[in-house]
Structure formats: C-alpha cells, structure tokens
C-alpha cells in the first residue's frame, strides 16, 4: 500500500541522484551540472508530489494520518535540495558533489515517512 507508484518514482529519482552525485565526486573537481540537475529533478518530483497530494486530498482520497504532519514533511523536504544546492555551489570543490549526494538518501527517508503518514 505504502509502496505505490509515487513511492517508486521518488525512490528511483533519489537513487539516480545519489549515483550521479557520487560518480561526479570521483570525476569532477567542481559541482557538476549533472549533480545540480539531479537535485532539480528531485525538487521537481517533490513539487509534483505535493500538488498531487493536494488534489488527492481535495478529491476522494483523504490522507489517513495527520495532515499537519504530512505537509510538514512536504515543506521540509522541499527545502532540503535548495539548502544542499546553495551550500554546494558556494564552495566549488570536488566535495560539492558529495554535499549534493546527501539529498537523495534524505529525501528517500522523508518520502517513506510521508507515505506512512498518507496511508495511516
């Protein structure tokens, strides 16, 4: 139940972002475009997920858990890639990519929690 299409799409994006950022840590001495774009993809997914959740809530599929907690997670998750991006590009080194690599696993855990709250 928790593992619906939303979950797998988000998980796949987070995994791809993690792999890209780790690979770029090895290959590049600067924050690579691929790393930044992978963060943008994760952020875009979170936006779509949030908008989708709003529509589902307005429709026939209300959130089972606490709505407040769910939206708290959505908003917090939306901030994470932004912080990582800013923190990564303000010191342009190899390790900028590894800073951005932290986003994938973090968002994955938060997405899992969101799914748990959604299905109660």
């Amino acid at each position: 139940m928790i593992f619906d299409a939303w979950f797998w799409a988000g998980t796949a994006l987070c995994a791809v972002s993690l792999v890209i950022c780790v690979v770029m840590t090895a290959l590049r001495r600067f924050p690579d475009d691929a790393s930044i774009l992978s963060l943008a993809a994760v952020e875009l997914f979170l936006l779509v997920y949030g908008i989708g959740a709003a529509f589902r809530m307005a429709g026939a599929e209300p959130v089972q858990g606490a709505a407040w907690e769910f939206w708290g997670y959505v908003l917090t998750a939306l901030v994470v890639p932004v912080i990582a991006f800013v923190w990564a590009v303000t010191d342009k080194t190899r390790w900028s990519n590894l800073v951005m690599a932290a986003v994938g696993p973090t968002i994955f855990v938060m997405l899992y929690r969101m799914q748990v709250i959604w299905f109660g």
């Binding site: 606490a66 908003l75 917090t76 994470v80 010191d91 080194t93 390790w95 800073v99 932290a102």
Partner: protein
C-alpha cells in the same frame, strides 16, 4: 573600513574547516537540524501532553543540532569553540539518552532522536558527533596572526 582585519585569515594554503570535505559534515548536520526542528515544532504544537519529557528532549536536541550546524558553517575561533561545545553536548546527549533508554525503556513515552543511541535514524546521531569532534580536533583554529602552525596543514588536513 574603519578597522583593520587582524585575523590570520590571510593564509590561503590550508582549506578551512568549513570548506572542502568539511562542507559535507555541515550538510549532514543541516539535515538533522532541519528535520529535528520541524519534527519538534510539530510534536510540541500538537501532542505535547502525550510525552512531555520526550518532546522537551527532542526540542533540546533540535536546538543543539541548529547551534552545531551554524557554528560548524562559520569561520573563526569563537565558532570553533561553540562547535566543540555543541558537538560535545550532542555526544553526551546521544550516549546518555541511549544508555538511559536501554536501561529503562519506560522512561520516555515516545522515541526521541537520541533514543537507543539513535537506532531509529540509522545510528547516524551516534556517528555524527564522533566525526564532528574528529574534524574539529584536526582543524583547530590558528593560534595567532604569526602563529607557527598557521602555514602548515594539520595532521588531518
């Protein structure tokens, strides 16, 4: 431009502790600060009476993470000392609360970030202060404007 910069920040040879590899540490701290803060606000606002002790402890942990994140991200001597204190408090907190929850599981009505040595968070809360202390101790603030160690990378540099 009234005052002259007397700090020894003019030594470019050595990466500062909030640059390079050090930025990853700050990033992980930031994730914990943000998530524990958001979670704590939610707990205090909605269900405080259910487990007052646990949620007060969560709030304290969130505050420690926020102070540690901001001080680790900043340069300078003062920030280094603030980092050292906050990361030490964090280590004492996670070990102390961890032991406490193992010995007396009934004490807290709900889990905190430090319960069972941070098992609910993949033991990252236990590893993080150890890494933080190691990073701080290998990246001590430079002694003075003409300190002998100023130009030389430290052991962990």
């Amino acid at each position: 431009m009234a005052e002259k910069v007397l700090e020894s920040g003019s030594v470019p040879a050595r990466p500062k502790r909030n640059q390079g590899l050090g930025r990853i540490l700050v990033m992980v701290y930031a994730v914990f600060a943000l998530s524990s803060f958001a979670r704590s606000v939610y707990q205090l606002a909605t269900e405080f009476s259910a487990a007052p002790l646990a949620y007060l402890l969560s709030a304290f942990a969130a505050a420690v993470y926020i102070v540690a994140t901001l001080s680790l991200a900043r340069s300078g001597r003062t920030a280094w000392y603030v980092s050292l204190v906050s990361v030490s408090v964090e280590l004492v907190g996670v070990v102390g609360v961890g032991l406490w929850t193992v010995l007396d599981p009934q004490l807290f009505a709900d889990d905190t970030v430090w319960s069972r040595f941070g098992a609910g968070y993949g033991y990252v809360p236990l590893v993080l202060p150890v890494l933080g202390l190691a990073w701080l101790l290998t990246h001590r603030p430079v002694r003075g404007p003409r300190g002998e160690v100023a130009g030389r990378p430290g052991a962990g540099g």
